[in-house]
Symmetry: C2
Subunit: 232 residues, 2 copies
């Protein structure tokens, strides 16, 4: 069972990383470009700001993901070492904790006692049991932090380039904005639908949600930039 | 115990939302402004792009957080309804699942049987037990999605304004950039140290990490914008 669980854990973590990177990557550079295109008349500045945003966003999110995964792994190891000590040094307290876990589910002490007896036969299983059922922690797969960082950053870059390509090809901002809105909303809908299928929350509703987030963010950025442009 | 756990869950979730919003808010607008300040000579455009980014980023992250929390809550409810049905309709399979959970920890069937007997006395406790120990799900507090969205968005805005203030006050880009780097690195270090204290991972190391992420992201955005500026 263990390998299966880990594989499942790992692949769903990768999907989550792609979703994190793509959803922000498709939304923020799109909204920034839309906002700026209403305020400056050179598409060069829009592209420049967009690429700077993609560089900043992908690094910030990638490194952030790296540190988060690294922190999870370290937290798991330090908590496990603590449990390993406590099972030996404070055996009685740990036994009480087992009873307390079961008491939350109205399982009386005498019914939980045989489980405790079995766990005491096998201290490493006892530690694993406490990690999962007392602390709610699962062991992160090794090397997860690097993969997480790279997946998030690459997804952010891939998503962020979509809304910028029109500004690179069409030098007239109004026209480029229209193409950018078109391709990005299509990409957001496609990505949202796919995400909905994978997560199992219904493809249409999920597509609507991602389009809505991107649209509201871009609309707000556009209006704000237009408004600010009135007061030079 | 239940209220205590929920309060703990809720406050740590709020801290996590503030950390998510602040760390991206302090980093991405800072890096974008630094990048642009090396490529355009009007601090007005830097401020405009920065504010558009803050609008886009806070909405995208806030709405993203809202939908994530909403999705978690719906997922919990639908899984709970499924467990409630299965405990009644497929009692035998659910009993086997209990044995399988314990077998992972080398607890033999005969030792797990009394726990199962106790859980069968109390179907709602049985469902809660399966939610936690089979599926690893905890009940999200009600109203969490709205609070999460607002906390993330506000933290992003608060963080994002820090690096922009110098560009609003100093109209010469080179000087504004220096002030922006200074105040933002101080803010990142302060925020990182505080985060390290709360999470318990050591304040100095955490401060170093947040400063590093912000610095690397801003440096990359700055270099990229400078480089692209060579090829008009």
């Amino acid at each position: 069972m263990q390998p299966h669980v880990e594989k499942h854990f790992e692949s769903s973590a990768t999907v989550r990383d792609i979703v994190i990177g793509l959803s922000d990557g498709l939304t923020v550079p799109f909204a920034l470009a839309a906002g700026l295109s209403g305020a400056v008349n050179s598409s060069r500045i829009v592209v420049l700001a967009g690429l700077a945003e993609i560089a900043a966003g992908s690094i910030a999110m990638g490194l952030g993901g790296y540190l988060a995964a690294k922190g999870d792994a370290e937290h798991y190891i330090s908590e496990k070492q603590r449990e390993e000590r406590e099972v030996v040094e404070r055996t009685h307290d740990e036994e009480e904790e087992i009873y307390e876990i079961f008491e939350q589910y109205s399982v009386p002490r005498e019914n939980a006692a045989p489980v405790l007896a079995a766990l005491k036969q096998n201290p490493s299983a006892w530690v694993d049991f406490m990690m999962r059922f007392e602390l709610g922690l699962e062991e992160p797969p090794p090397g997860r932090a690097h993969r997480s960082a790279l997946t998030i950053a690459m997804s952010y870059i891939a998503g962020g380039l979509v809304p910028l390509v029109p500004y690179m090809l069409v030098f007239q901002n109004d026209a480029a904005l229209r193409y950018s809105v078109l391709v990005t909303l299509i990409a957001l809908a496609f990505f949202g639908a796919l995400k909905g299928r994978i997560v199992g929350s219904g493809w249409f509703r999920s597509a609507l949600q991602t389009v809505l987030i991107g649209g509201v963010a871009a609309g707000a950025a556009y209006l704000l930039a237009r408004l600010l442009n009135q007061f030079p």
